[in-house]
């Protein structure tokens, strides 16, 4: 699902770009965030909670809640709800707290 019309904001959709989600090819638009593209593609589970491993998804959408942390191009703990999608990005579900080397 994407918001097509909004009473205040104007969504200018850029050109279609390709990225991968857990190795699978996916599509989104330039100018939208990673989480928005995943949401539009029907991906609801962005990660798992640290201790009880419960599903975590799109929640605050403004970079505060850490519910959307994912591994992007090998970097863990990326807030996908406030990170712009780029051509060829490799987006992966994060397991655990993230590994930096």
């Amino acid at each position: 699902m994407r918001i097509e019309e909004h009473p205040i904001l104007d969504f200018k959709r850029g050109k279609k770009i390709k990225f991968t989600f857990n190795g699978q090819e996916a599509e989104g638009y330039e100018g939208e965030t990673i989480a928005a593209a995943l949401h539009a593609a029907g991906v609801k589970v962005l990660g798992k909670s640290l201790f009880l491993h419960r599903p975590r998804g799109f929640y605050c959408a403004i970079g505060n809640c850490s519910s959307c942390l994912m591994v992007v191009d090998g970097v863990p703990n990326v807030k996908t709800c406030v990170t712009d999608l780029q051509e060829g990005m490799e987006v992966e579900t994060q397991v655990g707290k993230g590994v930096i080397i």
């Binding site: 970097v75 863990p76 703990n77 655990g96 707290k97 993230g98 590994v99 930096i100 080397i101």
Partner: protein, 382 residues
């Protein structure tokens, strides 16, 4: 609130709680601890949580060694139902000058004389322990695997709970406004919640100790210096030991939850008891970590805070009683290592107050040493 007490301890950090616990364990009844905020709200709760034996003076080495032996069994000794989370993953000290390497060697001689298992490492060995250490800028390293870290809140809570079970009363959010002296003798403490008559007062307020000493006219050569700490996002376990450098001015460890906690000092800080955070600290810290530990400089900082070091001229604590005011005891001036010395602070102060044979002779940490000018300076402080 009680209107009289055998002993009044001012300060509800690790020192105050440990002194109270030790006195109560030795059978002293009617002990009161007064804390102007909440337990652990001062320097203890703001510290970097590290505990090490790699010191440069015999006195600091001895106190640190005894304290670490205590921490190894703290849960059992204090009958603590939770866990103080003591983890001995070592301290890796790194030096970027030959002068500091020489200092490490001298320190290790002192440490070995005290039975501390520290050793010099080659840069290659240091890199095996912390693979992302930038040894290109380093000259040498020292390591002690028995050093480590533990949770300051839970450790203080363990002392607090144990002291309470032994009958110690704690008055939090209670501020001492004056200490009454009559004919050179302590006779009572005035607080914003009421007055308590007592003949023994222990100043365990560290950062605020000078102000408390001024109330009774005891001159102490200490000042408080703001030190800041930052914490990063948590990641999977990556770094075993605390990495620390005196010359490069930083320390950083990975806590049990995976976040990195690190800090540095700044000798140009204004000495006005401020505990606010500064951007300058973050900038300097980021530069240093990027230089020495480039891999972890990728981590995002999520929070920073500040606390007070109470500095003495030789960077060793003062354990003493006042010459001119009978019944006024001081346990202050830890110069940044009050948390790790906490267990022994309680032991030596309780022995001093009760006139018992000391477990460790700390008589050289008296107040008069600063008048003679013959100081043994602790060289290894961040």
């Amino acid at each position: 609130m009680k209107n009289s007490a055998e002993i009044v301890i001012i300060g509800g950090g690790i020192s105050g709680c440990s002194i109270a616990y030790n006195l109560a364990k030795k059978g002293v009844k009617n002990i009161v601890v007064i804390e102007k905020n909440y337990i652990c709200s001062g320097s203890t709760g703001r510290c970097g949580a590290g505990v090490r034996m790699q010191w440069g003076t015999e006195m600091n080495c001895k106190i640190a060694k005894k304290s670490i032996e205590f921490f190894e069994n703290a849960n059992e000794i204090l009958e603590y139902k939770r866990d103080v989370e003591f983890k001995q993953s070592g301290y890796l000290l790194v030096a970027d000058t030959d002068k500091e390497v020489e200092q490490f060697k001298k320190n290790i001689e002192v440490q070995h004389a005290c039975g501390i298992p520290s050793r010099m490492l080659t840069l290659q060995e240091a890199k095996e322990i912390v693979p992302y250490l930038n040894t290109d800028i380093l000259k040498g390293a020292a390591f002690c695997e028995k050093d480590g870290f533990l949770n300051p809140f839970k450790t203080t809570d363990a002392f607090y709970q144990a002291a309470k079970r032994l009958g110690v009363e704690f008055y939090t959010f209670t501020e001492v406004t004056d200490i009454k002296v009559d004919h050179g003798k302590v006779i009572g403490v005035e607080t914003n919640k009421g007055n308590i008559s007592t003949n023994i007062v222990v100043n365990a307020t560290n950062g605020w100790s000078k102000q408390l000493c001024e109330m009774v006219g005891v001159d102490v050569p200490v000042y408080s210096e703001r030190h800041q700490i930052m914490v990063t996002e948590p990641v999977e376990p990556l770094q075993g030991p605390m990495v620390m450098s005196f010359g490069l001015n930083f320390y950083i460890q990975q806590s049990l939850d995976g976040s990195f906690i690190g800090g540095r000092g700044d000798a140009n800080e204004p000495r006005d008891l401020r505990m606010t955070s500064s951007w300058h600290f973050l900038e300097e810290m980021a530069k240093t970590i990027d230089l020495v530990l480039p891999t972890i400089s990728k981590l995002r900082v999520i929070r920073q805070w500040a606390g007070l070091y109470n500095m003495t001229p030789d960077k060793q604590p003062i354990y003493d009683k006042a010459d001119n005011v009978e019944g006024y005891y001081i346990a202050i001036g830890y110069s940044g290592h009050g948390f790790m010395f906490g267990p022994i602070t309680g032991v030596v102060m309780s022995e001093m107050i009760l006139g018992e044979e000391p477990t460790i002779d700390v008589s050289m940490l008296n107040l008069n040493r600063f008048k003679t000018g013959k100081l043994l300076l602790e060289p290894s402080v961040v």
